[in-house]
Amino acid sequence: MDITFEHVTHIYGQKTPFEKLALDDVSLHIPSGSFTSVIGHTGSGKSTLVQHINGLLKPSKGKITAGDVVIRANEKKQSLKKLREKVGFVFQYPEHQLFEESIIKDVCFGPMNFGVSDSEATKRAEESLNLVGIPASYWHRSPFDLSGGQMRRVAIAGVLAARPQAIILDEPTAGLDPKGRQEMLDLFAELHKRLSMTVIMVTHNMSDAAIYSDQVIVMNDGKPLMIGPPEHVFLQTEQLRRVGLESPETMLFLDKVMAKARKKERIPAFTIDQTADVVIQILNGVKNHV
């Protein structure tokens, strides 16, 4: 599902003393089937940006096109609901949205709201629960008896059960342990690859943004500062530093190695394997010189 922003401005609390310009004339494009990360300093407008994509916020000015739905400042409710069915949204701490007496009922909530029949909703719920790895023996228990990480999986299954074409993740790994984090990210990568979903992820972790995405959007002060593939964005160390961001740790590590080897060039490498390859290249290079 292609997503396009055209001159989108968002002002919170318009015409009060608390007025806040959160998005300032943003134009950008998110291609169908891509994995896009949104990074930026706290308060730079990341959440505000992504909440426009499924109509949770309406622009104060400008227009957003998502698939065949267009959202302008005075959009009607009906078109928003149609959009929400196609674009799933996983909030930070999504486990806070659980409310039903059993896990399976909670996961059915989304599809039923979108007018899917009982039996079809249950089928989809079971599918999604399998996808996020909640074993069938849990399905009829209360969601409030689960651990934090499991609750989050159930909440994500609740979003997936509506079968969205695109999914938005606002800091989906906040508060998870390293293993839980990794599993969560692998899940999203799989959704992206296997179901060719368009994924949009807000994150504070540069390595995650670098490893998983095709496109990185750097937000600063309500405006996109850079948009491009991670190999390009994360080479702009100076620009990133200016807006309070760092390159991924692998890049920082390689910078140090390069400095030791007295080389200037910079090669983008984000995973441990890539980094190891680059280090080997450097070491070989150094040896050849000596």
Partner: protein
Amino acid sequence: MFNLVIGQYVPSDSYVHRLDPRSKLIGVFLFVVIVFLADNWLTNGLMVLFCFTGILLSRMRFSFIYKGLRSVFIIVFITFLLNLFLASGGDTLFQWGWLRVTSGGLMQSIFISIRILVIIVVTTLLTLTTSPIEITDGMESLLNPLKKVRLPVHEFALMMSISLRFIPTLLEETEKIIKAQAARGSDFTTGSLKSRIKALVPLLVPLFVGAFKRAEDLAMAMEARGYHGDAGRTKLHQLNWSWRDTMLLTAILLLTVLLILTRN
């Protein structure tokens, strides 16, 4: 979505902001009482003048206060109409069937509308210029004598400040959960009454779960930091009464005297 002006605090550094919360509380209380002394054009004019002076001194924008008052205009208007047709006295201005408007009735309804409006403006001004913490500190200090008769004034003030402190948090949380459920296709604003009430369940359950959890965390954190109630506890914000506060109360006293002298 929650842009009610009444009850909101707008930080700033005006004359009114810097007043001691105690003088503001006493002032507003006295003002609300003496409003009822006003019974002619002059006295009502004085009340309005006092309000305008207050707004000017607080450096609040008139348009902002006007916007906040818009929602109460309807109440004022209904009261106005009721009084217009029910109160009598003076000459008949016009008559339509059994509906009769008299000059006395008209005056009385105007006065009552002014009365409601100035009361609302003054209390709004209090909350706009005084943070909730200051208000509770002020109340606790004013109610202090009641501790002698074993009234739990401190606990009451603590409860109040905790509730006030968590109102914005709860509103934020509510907004977040509404958004999260809306993203799953639930709809709180359309459909029949029954379906709307049903749509509240996915909102209320997470809200309560969160509130209880937060209360537990807070109690634990307070205990961990040695909170043991009122005895021997010092204050972070000392209230201090300045000449400005004395001025405010003097002004209100003068206003009272003027009202008594000029009323019918």
